[in-house]
Assembly symmetry: C2
Homo-oligomer: 230 residues x 2
Amino acid sequence: MSAYGFRKIRDSILDRIAAGDWPPGTFIPSEIELAKEYGCARTTINRALQKLAQEGVVERKRRAGTRVKEVRSRVASIEIPIIRTQVEEAGGTYDHHVLLSEVGPAPSHIAASLRLQEENELLHLKTMHLMNDQPYAFEDRWVNVDAVPSILQAPLDSISANEWLVREAPYSDGTMSFTAVAAEREVAKAFNTNVNEPLFAVERITWNNDKYITNVRIFYKPGYRLLTYV
Amino acid sequence: MSAYGFRKIRDSILDRIAAGDWPPGTFIPSEIELAKEYGCARTTINRALQKLAQEGVVERKRRAGTRVKEVRSRVASIEIPIIRTQVEEAGGTYDHHVLLSEVGPAPSHIAASLRLQEENELLHLKTMHLMNDQPYAFEDRWVNVDAVPSILQAPLDSISANEWLVREAPYSDGTMSFTAVAAEREVAKAFNTNVNEPLFAVERITWNNDKYITNVRIFYKPGYRLLTYV
DNA sequence: CAGTGGTCTAGACCACCAG
DNA sequence: TGGTGGTCTAGACCACTGA
């Protein structure tokens, strides 16, 4: 429960919005008025309202004030942990097998996603992550060897490429997308399931300033569900 | 650019972490020390460090201090707009068709997800959302009539149930999850695709205090991709 | 117990922008 | 130009928890 301090005020204001005190599109009283009403410092009100703004409930503008959003966007914060952590926090034992590790030219769609002009050599990795010795997630990764040459010496049998890259390229920025895909033969076999089984997939592209580092697709086991905590 | 105030300090600390000043697993100086070093109030340092914690870069514990995370988790913020907004912002024209609208008892798994003890009557809606007259998303929704009795009089042909609920029954909380599912016959037909086609699905349950309002599953058209902006 | 982060206060200055 | 939110300050008290 968030029953103390600015959280309590945030909850209270949210309740009043939900109760219809301030219908969508209308303005909430100013921070100063609310501070008087709640008998607290303006800073505390400010913090509560900033939280509500971050959650997509209200919009705030200087001079104008704080307005209840007409259509409340749903903002979800999703934490994508390292798979090992994910497994261990679920109480399982983690392991992984490298199924493929070879250096070669990239297929055109991968090269395009990594903004590679020339025909760079990439490290192609396929890894199965296991939870309690059962298939958990299948990883298909391309690493730009130019950006991270030392990847070729990494002990990828004992540490996953993901964790290794996080250590070597901690500044990475990137994009992430989620899709549903049909299991191709190789992946289906790895999961011991049927071809065309729907799989939840995450695709990440990360770069460091202008250096594109890696493109990875992770296919989770059938039935996987990504939860969010609003 | 975030070149002023606590953001600048956040950036500076992040740079120093990346530069190796404080390797993963080690502790950052305390807020008081950093405040001295940066020549600002402790509150400002606190804010910068809280931001880094929220971003998954550091872990903070009372008494212990602030530690650089061994493995940096990826935190993504996902904004799920109203479907109409989603379509219109993509430059398309929006429309929707109500395929089913009936009141009746809930199947047990729906009743369970809405925490309904008795055999409440629920409004069951199936809606196809269109973009440029093409199927875009299929919505399967159950509404707790007890919590929102006026839903029965809503003009759901002209306004989608989603938008109507947002206006009439602001919610305070909810959960959201993402999965990949195989299209069942009805949905496949609605999308004019094959049975068992993988579809990206979002399930949302929302409530207001103790009143459970609605359970909705939205199946997006084949190939749909949810993007995040880190 | 002592030191850390979590939070609140009261006051201040500033950037912004609708009127 | 006045009122709004954005942010900072200096100080304070508290909750937690490692030693």
